[in-house]
Symmetry: C2
Subunit: 483 residues, 2 copies
């Protein structure tokens, strides 16, 4: 039994909370952990904590960020995470094929549970029961077993799975996959009783995933040839030694594949598909409006998360954890504030945030790419001020953690300890730096910052130099094997 | 000839740009200098740069901030500024009386030009011409000479001055002062041709101001007694030695005065009032909507000042000099962003910002009181990060300036030079600190920061301590005579 977490999504619908390098699955606003971390924890409930590893499918541009993010989660300290890197984004059919081929090479009879990394799911009894039924069906038959949510409203934002005859908690034969419906159609689906929201989760034997993709003929000869090629290339790359997976040869192979979703390429055409209908607590956290679940409305229907004030306003959502946002005389407005960017839109335009993302993309806006706070395996850093020739960061190092032993070619760094005690390595010397004290790392010096205390270490770092990019770093030794 | 600048206004209509300690008259957004600085420069054109001093009427709570602000203006380096402090706010009648009594004590025949500090006025020919006519009239007659703007639209936000017969550029007898009209009335005023916007400027002999206030009987016996008392107390305080002006005796005297405007107390009832109608370029910068003048609209009527993007939006004003603000699908909205607070309101609610200020006041919100950037005579400082036990500031010291020689009882400070060269005094030692270097000021050490360079000096200051209030400062020596 294997678990694959699909973490390729870019999550532009959550800007400004999400960024290119910190997509929706890395957001922690909906609970104590991020969506991807919650997904991994849920997967472990099913495959068991003694399972050798969990595979994460991720695009090459996000690999470092996702890896840093997951390394920083203490509850995942005992999980071996294996990264299956898409050399270039090609939608879900190539991504799932790559994952299935990798599992197949590892275990020809392996059963795999594929889970989107950016959903919010309650991990209670319903979750475990549903997955148990799905796994049973995937074990005893050669079917693609999907999970369908019993619809609680005529939602037009999801695709639906139509069962021949539906029954909650059993694997039912699927009659059809249907695209996002209009409002009337959605109403009919809900009334019919055998239509379910497509959760995007899939359980099947790895070889069945590949076989069904290869066999799908529904969309004509060209598509069929494309499907065959996807499976062929996925197996070729899966057969490569680990080190060659991200080679240019692998990139060139993957680049030739069609951009197609697994739903379109296989599920819609296969005759061996089952759905397990479920009533578990599930949300795809589809837009910024999901933030509404985090606060009760006031008497005028305003919901405020963070530091907001709604004066003579109605039905307005203010999300502003770091700064003060005041609205006056507005109605049904959505204001989402972060340390470097604010979005203002009517609530009913929340689905269209990609229009802002597209416009910002044309301007190559830095606010699209990186958040001001970056997670690292050893803690976090945040840029608090930048100017010509300098940058000021607030660095938090978690207990018993240390950064890599490193040097920089074009910047010097001052570290001022503002909370806790730092153990600083400079060359062959170790220095203990107490709260209120500082230390200086000149250009070229090997240095390392470590927290051996029981609580967080807070440092203000002032970088000075003619180039201050994150890529000016030489790592000599790293607890997290980064290079 | 004397100039008095009325700088008592709190300017809550400009929040979040203005703050209690940085009101509208200190804003520099409308030009190269602040409104008050521009007013002083305009006054000097009329009274001559060789005039001994200019008097600034200011409330006691704003004295330090206004003084620091004006000390920092290089173009005012050769003006002696004299501060007439209102011990407690009592509206404009007591404030003008205090100023007039002070000038009268200095020069019994003195003519005084009273100017609001928070207007935007073009200092060209029309300004000089208008004031020359007003001064001529105030010199040759014992009248209160007001300045009235020829209305360019049926504005309902201003009071009007009705001349018996109006003629631009001449001192005309006034028939009446009228309150802010409704839209129809305003239309009639504009059509009539002898109604003018009340600019709030006044030219008269100091003794005439006091005499007319004393004589005004229009509002009954109680008001008349109040007026007499205002003049009596103003003369009492003006007769005090400088050092006693802010004594508790002076406070107690002033506190007994009625809160009344000079318009209500005197101008509306006096029969010796003239108006000089003028077409000079004038704005009272009455609300945040005045920001619209700073940018041309795009094809959809959106105006963006700073870093904003308006997607599928119309008629929207974004003012955001420091951060990114994106609007999506909104219409006629006003978004004003500062480093610590953002306001969102429909354009036609711009006049109601005080409702937000009132609401924030109830919560004692820190964003109401202080701006993140504070002007000092030697430059500026800005808080870039704060946490338990520490504060990070970016300090800019202008060329040939230095802070006071000071020490702190409860905090230590690290200074990292990120641009320029600092001359740091520590005890009896002077240290030159170059870009990229740092220096440490332990608790209790006497220290001073100085810039002898030709360009700005930028410092990152990290304060560490159990108390970090601005009032933990002992000054031993100060170029600006602050204690």
């Amino acid at each position: 039994m294997y678990a694959v977490i699909l973490a390729g999504g870019s999550g532009t619908r959550f800007w400004p909370l999400s960024r290119e390098l910190s997509p929706k699955q890395m957001l922690s606003v909906f609970g104590e952990t991020s969506l991807i971390c919650g997904t991994i924890e849920r997967a472990r409930m099913i495959i068991g904590t003694e399972a050798p590893s969990i595979d994460i499918v991720v695009g090459v541009t996000l690999l470092d960020e996702i890896r840093n993010h997951l390394l920083a989660q203490p509850q995942l300290a005992d999980v071996a995470l294996n990264y299956l890197v898409e050399p270039v984004p090609r939608n879900t059919a190539p991504a799932l094929a790559l994952a299935a081929a990798t599992i197949e090479a590892r275990d020809p009879d392996g059963i795999v549970m594929m889970l989107p990394s950016d959903q919010l799911v309650d991990s209670g009894k319903a979750w475990r029961g549903t997955m148990t039924v799905a796994i049973e069906a995937a074990t005893t038959t050669d079917q693609l077993v999907t999970i369908g949510l019993v619809p609680t409203r005529p939602e037009t934002g999801y695709g639906y799975i139509k069962a021949v005859v539906g029954a909650v908690g059993t694997a039912c034969p699927v009659e059809a996959f249907v695209e996002k419906p209009d409002a009337d159609t959605a109403q009919r689906y809900v009334a019919a009783g055998n239509y379910y929201w497509n959760s995007g989760m899939l359980v099947a034997k790895a070889r069945v995933i590949l076989a069904e993709l290869e066999a799908a003929q529904g969309t004509g000869a060209e598509a069929a040839a494309g499907n065959e090629r996807i499976v062929e290339v996925a197996r070729q790359i899966a057969a490569l030694p680990e080190a060659e997976r991200l080679s240019s040869a692998s990139y060139q192979l993957f680049e030739t594949l069609p951009k197609v979703s697994f739903d379109n390429a296989a599920l819609e055409h296969s005759t061996h598909v089952a759905v397990v209908p479920t009533t578990m607590d599930w949300s795809d956290v589809g837009s910024l409006l999901s933030l509404e679940d985090l606060a009760e409305p006031d008497v005028s229907g305003n919901r405020i998360i963070g530091d907001g004030i709604a004066v003579e306003s109605q039905g307005t959502l203010i999300y502003s954890p770091e700064r003060l946002v005041a609205t006056l005389g507005v109605k049904d407005l959505l204001v989402v504030d972060t340390s470097d960017a604010t979005l203002v839109a009517p609530r009913d335009r929340a689905q269209d945030v990609r229009l802002v993302v597209n416009a910002l993309s044309k301007q190559d806006a830095p606010e699209l790419r990186e958040p001001k706070v970056s997670a690292r395996p050893w803690g976090t850093w945040k840029i608090v001020e930048e100017g010509v020739g300098f940058k000021v960061k607030e660095i938090v190092v978690t207990p018993d953690s240390r950064l890599s032993l490193q040097s920089h070619e074009r910047r010097s760094e001052h570290w001022v300890v503002v909370e806790g005690t730092a153990l600083v390595t400079q060359g062959n010397t170790e220095i203990q730096v107490e709260t209120g004290q500082s230390v200086y790392n000149p250009v070229g010096t090997k240095h390392r910052l470590e927290n051996r205390g029981a609580s967080d270490l807070h440092i203000i770092e002032i970088q000075v130099g003619d180039y201050l990019g994150e890529d000016d770093i030489i790592r000599y030794s790293d607890d997290f094997e980064r290079t």
